[in-house]
């Protein structure tokens, strides 16, 4: 058992993977000397050197493209995008190249790279540094999508991502880097692609991922005090999506809230809502309720920023309304 932060768990995952497999290397802006904008790679350069913590110019499209080429040539790059907000510059390389190479080339070769990045609100970083863009990735066939919400998962999901044969987009949450947990990393993780039930309750099911797991658990605690018991599912990976775990929780309860920090319209919450409705229709007492980001850009004003995405209060309040 050790007390570890999310940040350090990620660092340890990179450290351990790089120790085990000399083909793993990190490439991105400020990943080496600087140690990463959020400190995830701090110190790794001392152990592994500048070739394996490769600082790049500010050239996001070419960073992703370089990782693709390196992956095709046999190595395992971990490309870092400092903010997921910069993914817009790389969508061609990511979605037209990395995601399609195995398919277009008839299965000849894959692109075993991990694109590490971070998103979400929480630092008054404004409209271009606070987004949750996972829906774009989830919509693209050929990409895996991982969004760890806990320290333990930060470690193990990154280790698992680094064993995948296909490109993985790994999105951390900027508001989670400092959280810490007492964990035993030697406890074997769930299989790749499995969701985890973080809390069990018989009144409603909350399906979520990344930072919203914490918001949901906080809300669930508050609700428990008022006699409402929620099950909280942490999806952990959005592709693969573990629908079995969702179904098992939803069918006996029939009340579901899906929570995502991304904008409501055409987002991850829409997919979850549609899928749950399709597969569990006869069990639902109410429509699946989406609690998501407002359909607005994120403001730098802290007050507006906070109100633009789901809060524990909104989740709890919504749950109460669902159970009236």
């Amino acid at each position: 058992m050790a007390e570890l932060t999310y940040r350090d768990a990620l660092k340890k995952a990179l450290h351990d993977a790089m120790t085990e497999d000399e083909d793993v290397f990190v490439i991105g802006e400020e990943v080496g000397r600087y140690g990463g904008a959020y400190g995830v790679t701090k110190g790794l350069i001392d152990e592994f050197g500048a070739e394996r913590l490769r600082d790049t110019p500010i050239s996001e499209p070419a960073i992703v493209g370089t990782a693709i080429g390196a992956a095709m040539a046999g190595m395992r790059p971990v490309a870092e995008l400092m903010y997921v907000d910069f993914i817009g510059m790389t969508m061609d390389q990511l979605c037209n190249q990395a995601a399609k190479i195995r398919y277009m080339f008839g299965g000849q070769i894959g692109v075993p790279m991990v694109l590490r990045t971070q998103g979400g609100t929480g630092r008054s970083a404004g409209a271009q540094h606070s987004q949750s863009l996972e829906a774009w990735v989830m919509h693209t066939p050929g990409l895996r999508l991982v969004m760890p919400g806990t320290v333990y998962d930060a470690y193990h999901l990154l280790r698992q991502a680094l064993r995948q044969p296909d490109p993985v987009v790994f999105i951390e949450h900027k508001a989670l880097y400092a959280i810490s947990e007492e964990i035993d990393l030697d406890v074997p993780p769930p299989d790749w692609g499995r969701a985890v039930v973080r809390r069990t309750g018989s009144d409603l099911v909350i399906v979520t991922y990344s930072r919203q797991v914490h918001h949901a658990l906080q809300a669930a605690d508050a609700l428990a005090g008022q006699g409402i018991e929620a099950t909280v599912i942490d999806l952990r990976t959005l592709n693969p999506l573990d629908f079995g775990t969702i179904r098992d929780a939803v069918e006996p309860i029939g009340r579901v809230m899906v929570v995502s920090e991304g904008p409501l319209t055409a987002g991850v919450a829409a997919e979850l809502s549609a899928r749950i409705t399709e597969e569990c229709f006869d069990f639902l007492h109410d429509p699946v309720i989406r609690v998501a980001g407002e359909d607005v850009p994120i403001s730098v004003s802290t007050a507006l920023e906070t109100a633009s995405v789901p809060t524990p209060d909104l989740i709890a309040e919504t749950a109460r309304k669902m159970l009236v």
Binding site: Y34, P57, M89, E294, V300, S308
Partner: protein, 346 residues
Amino acid sequence: MGERNPQTATGSNTDLVGLYRQMRRVRTFEERVGELFVRGLSAGSMLHLSIGEESAAVGVCAAMKDGDTFTTHHRGHGIFLARGADPDRMMAEIGGKETGYCRGKGGSMHIADMGLGHLGANAIVGGGIPAVVGAALVAQQRKTGAVSIAFFGDGAMQQGILYESMNMAALWDLPAVFVCINNQYGMGTRIDQATRATALHERAVAFGLNGETVDGLDVVAVRDAAERIVDAARGGTPGFLAIDCYRFFGHARKDKSPYRDADEEEAGRRKDPVAFARAALVEAGQDEAELDAIDAAAAAEMDATIDFAARSEEPPLSSMFHDVFAVGEPEPEPLAVRIDRVLARN
């Protein structure tokens, strides 16, 4: 076209005293931004100070005229101020307040003001560059005589969109200027760690633009170079200007620059365009008391910005739904309203 320097309500900037005054205002403003942060009044820590780069902002703006437009990078306070911004509204914006230029939605990295031709600061490195191509295109088609200037850092020299934009500007003979404020660093990366091609203007020349590099120590030299480049652009030959300077402090407020050594930093900070201008003025017989008065006026002016920001209100929560689309268009339905509607089954 108007005269150069519409911003000089407080005196001509074409003489060195005026340039000095503007640089001092910029320097002092940035110092107050630091204070705002320390006092917990800023919205977040993503504050990028242009201390050490004042000659770039002031020198280039001295070559601009009424009607010209520009975009900046994330380190753009000094440029906007030199172009005539109201420092109160800037500071309020940096504090995320309703009285700010963007009503607290934009913050330090997204200040803009259409009245002064500021098409926007940008938090995406290189993101604001191509907009000047469009603005220059409009100036050309409408024959307004205006130029449009993109300001960005040395880090943006490695963003492909710069080359696409410069190529278009050259191809179409646009009144566009690309100004690279080379403070030697992009976060922790020194320019020679980002490229082998450190003679930055040569890249622009290879794309068919007018290109120069100027030492930012001397604001007069910067202004003169900017006038050459900007005037040529006004005449249909787009240009590029790199201004060498040094980022005196960390990348943003929390960065202590551990990646560079103290000696280098000390030497870099000796390349101080404000001190250099002051020394040159004194050397030329300028009355020091007058310079002190300028400094004092700047201090008073900028002190007031903090009070203004502190006194200003946060934007109302309802403003969250404004301005996604134009006024008059339906606003997005707030989630809570929507959820109530769904649960009420209507």
